[in-house]
């Protein structure tokens, strides 16, 4: 799982049927680029979240045939981006 910060909702009216009417969010990876994730949890912009990728994303979005490659699975209660990781590796 990777850590992302939610930037906002993404509106795509013309979409494939299998995507249903699920909420899509623009998320930004820590130190990385923007991606789009399915949100079955209900996140606000600014939330730090964890998301699963590849085939686990399909199950996490609800059912095996849902075409998601990135799905949010939890909102992190407390995340301080400015605190360096413990263990001295960073």
């Amino acid at each position: 799982m990777k850590i992302f910060q939610v930037e906002g909702t993404l509106v795509a009216t013309a979409r494939i049927g299998q995507l249903e009417n699920r909420r899509l969010l623009v998320v930004k990876e820590r130190g990385g680029g923007k991606q789009v994730a399915v949100d079955p949890v209900g996140c606000k912009p600014g939330d730090w979240v964890i998301a699963v990728g590849s085939s686990a994303a399909k199950d996490a979005a609800g059912h095996k045939d849902y075409p998601s490659d990135l799905t949010i699975v939890g909102i992190i209660d407390y995340w301080d981006e400015d605190t360096p990781a413990q263990g001295g590796k960073r």
Partner: protein
């Protein structure tokens, strides 16, 4: 899913059977890297789209037997270059 922009059509007459007659588009990411995505919707060049990768791309194509690893899932209503690159 990634946010990408449609560059143009791609025609491949000779192709494997399991690509069938699905339309293909050249798409670019915010860095300008080009990739090819299967297009079940019908996008125009310049459209910002969300693309689905990995094995979910095969489901998104409408038939899990289709051999694709990138499929366009939707056209984004409001998006611009600045948001994309920031």
């Amino acid at each position: 899913m990634q946010i990408q922009r449609v560059v143009r059509d791609l025609v491949t007459t000779k192709r494997v059977f399991w690509l069938q007659a699905k339309p293909l588009r050249v798409v670019e990411d915010y860095k300008g890297n080009l990739e090819v995505a299967l297009d079940p919707i019908g996008c125009k060049p310049g459209d910002f789209v969300l693309t689905i990768g990995y094995s979910a791309a095969r489901i998104a194509s409408g038939n899990p037997k289709i051999t694709t690893d990138l499929t366009i899932g939707g056209i984004i209503d409001h998006w611009d270059e600045e948001l994309w690159r920031s």
